[in-house]
Amino acid sequence: MALLEVRNLSVSFETAAGRFFAVQGIDLSVDRGEVLAIVGESGSGKSVAMLAVMGLLPPTATVTADALRFEGRDLLAMSARERRGMSGSEMAMIFQEPVASLNPCFTVGFQIEETLERHTDLDRAARRARAVELLAAVGIPEPEERLRSFPHQMSGGQCQRVMIAIATACNPKLLIADEPTTALDVTIQKQILDLLLRLQAEHGMGLVLITHDMGVVAETADRVIVQYNGRKMEDTDVLSLFERPQNPYTRALLSALPENARGGRLPTVSDFAPGGAA
């Protein structure tokens, strides 16, 4: 049984111009210990699909699916309270903007311990000890001192490490990382990715990595899903993706990489057959 199983997931929003489908009929599955990358350009519905899995979409969104199961449990049939019990403990998510993801009014320690307080029976001292341990595990020096820091006193990379500490606090089975390195410097990007992969391997988590960076895909993923305009274009293992892309959109996406460019001008997706993509 897959850790996460999604069949025919659609997400739509009611807008002034009518119903808008952000995600249309996506299928995917994630196994324990697997790294799945979801790639696609901005607006292709990658984040919305994963927010739907986490149950974090605003009430204005309509989520439908033939199946949305976590360890065989039907997420759509659960009450809001039951889903809250899972989020942050069994499944967790980190976001693109690490500094904005943390509440500016509370210390880092408070924000880590809050998750522990919500999902574990640890007492105050044990939560503090666990928070120190978590900060050390994500590579923040002087963790005891840093617990008292506010987010604005830390760099973007450090904030993302704190977010990872919060997300992994209760040893989740599934971690969704929504473009975790996009807002960071290149050198920090590599460190954060290595950290995510190390924690993923240590805890045997399923990791969903949303990205538009093909380099990140090649380095980290076991399997890749290519998404375009709310639909799934391709679902394959990472080697096949680069060696034998099946879908015209995937081929277009790969050709648009600067290193694959031939001639003076960089090709764009619209240079390729429009019928194949949309």
Partner: protein
């Protein structure tokens, strides 16, 4: 934090000098001879006039009058009231608790009800609750305060007879003054009937004085809350599986309060202006009514001193707000 407070305290010095200058110059810009105004309809001989001018120091050049005035201020001397012949400071202190009691009750009502209404409207954005709350707030904000006060008096005091028309407490109630606050003193004296009378007298002035700040606080809370609820850290809080109540009251409200506290601080200064109207309408024996009476009597020293003391109060409130702002906003505290 201590450095932050010290810095704010130091800023008070130039502000206060500026206020003394403005209060002093503006009073003297008003047309009219103070001695003639004091004398009223009685005739004053030119000799007596010159004598009185010299007695009050009005024959001195302006800069000298200012230096002497500020010199007196530094010794805590705010001058004397021409009409009562008592020191301005002691007149002020006798009336100040009445204003403070009313202003405190009004601000408490405006803050508690305003924040609650703002949160409710933000959470039910676009619903009839939101529209009703914000519509009422707009009406409250736009209404002339004296007209609103008269309406309330006609309905509750005259027609229904539920509340007294004016004053601070029933004339039949007596108890020793300890703090100057009727609500506290009546309880200290163990007189529940007096306490109830004070409460009844407070209700209408409190509502009238609270109306505008309440509307402003409600609208500000709503917009701050809506902005904060769209922030990514609220999504993070939800992703941690926290209960909606905790997310709204702790994670969102704490951030939304930052602009709201500033608004409340500014409203306190507005409240001082509102207090003058409200106190006059309800014959509330506070500094607002005292100032109005003094202006009509052309009691310059009182107007001047009263203005300074009110300004000092507003500065004190602003300092408190600044400190509070630093406390709830860590980005200000640790720069």
């Amino acid at each position: 934090m201590l450095r932050f407070i010290l810095h704010r305290l130091l800023l008070i010095v130039p502000t206060f000098i500026g206020i003394t200058l403005v209060a002093f110059v503006f009073i003297r810009l008003l047309p009219g001879d103070p001695v003639l105004l004091m004398a009223g309809e009685r005739a004053v001989s030119p000799e007596r006039h010159a004598e009185l001018m010299a007695q009050f120091g009005f024959d001195q050049p302006l800069w000298r009058q200012y230096v002497e005035y500020t010199g007196g201020l530094l010794h805590g001397d705010f001058g004397y009231s021409f009409s009562s012949k008592r020191p301005v400071l002691s007149e002020f202190m006798a009336r100040f608790p009445a204003t403070l009691e009313l202003a405190f009750c009004a601000m408490l009502l405006a803050t508690v009800l305003g924040i609650a209404a703002g949160i409710l409207a933000a959470l039910r954005r676009g619903s009839w609750v939101d529209q009703l709350t914000m519509g009422t707030a707009l009406v409250g904000y736009s209404m002339p305060i004296f007209w609103w006060a008269l309406l309330l008096i006609i309905l509750f005091s005259t027609n229904l007879g539920w509340t007294p028309v004016s004053g601070r407490i029933s004339l039949t109630q007596f108890f020793p003054t300890v703090t100057g606050f009727m609500l506290i003193d009546s309880l200290l004296a163990g007189k529940p009937a007096a306490f109830w009378s004070a409460v009844q007298h407070l209700i209408l002035p409190t509502i009238v004085l609270a109306t505008i700040p309440l509307a402003v606080v409600a609208r500000q809370t709503r917009s701050a809350m809506l902005e904060v609820l769209g922030e990514l850290y609220v999504t993070t809080a939800r992703s941690k599986g926290l209960a909606p109540r905790r997310i709204i009251w702790l994670h969102a409200l704490r951030n939304a309060l930052i602009p709201v506290v500033t608004t409340i601080g500014l409203q306190v200064s507005v409240l001082m202006g509102g207090a003058i109207l409200t106190e006059t309408i309800f014959s509330w024996p506070g500094i607002g009514k005292w100032m109005i009476d003094s202006i009509s009597r052309r009691d310059y020293q009182v107007v001047q001193g009263g203005l300074l003391l009110i300004a000092a109060m507003v500065m004190l409130v602003n300092l408190t707000v600044d400190i509070l702002y630093g406390l709830i906003n860590p980005r200000v505290r640790y720069r």
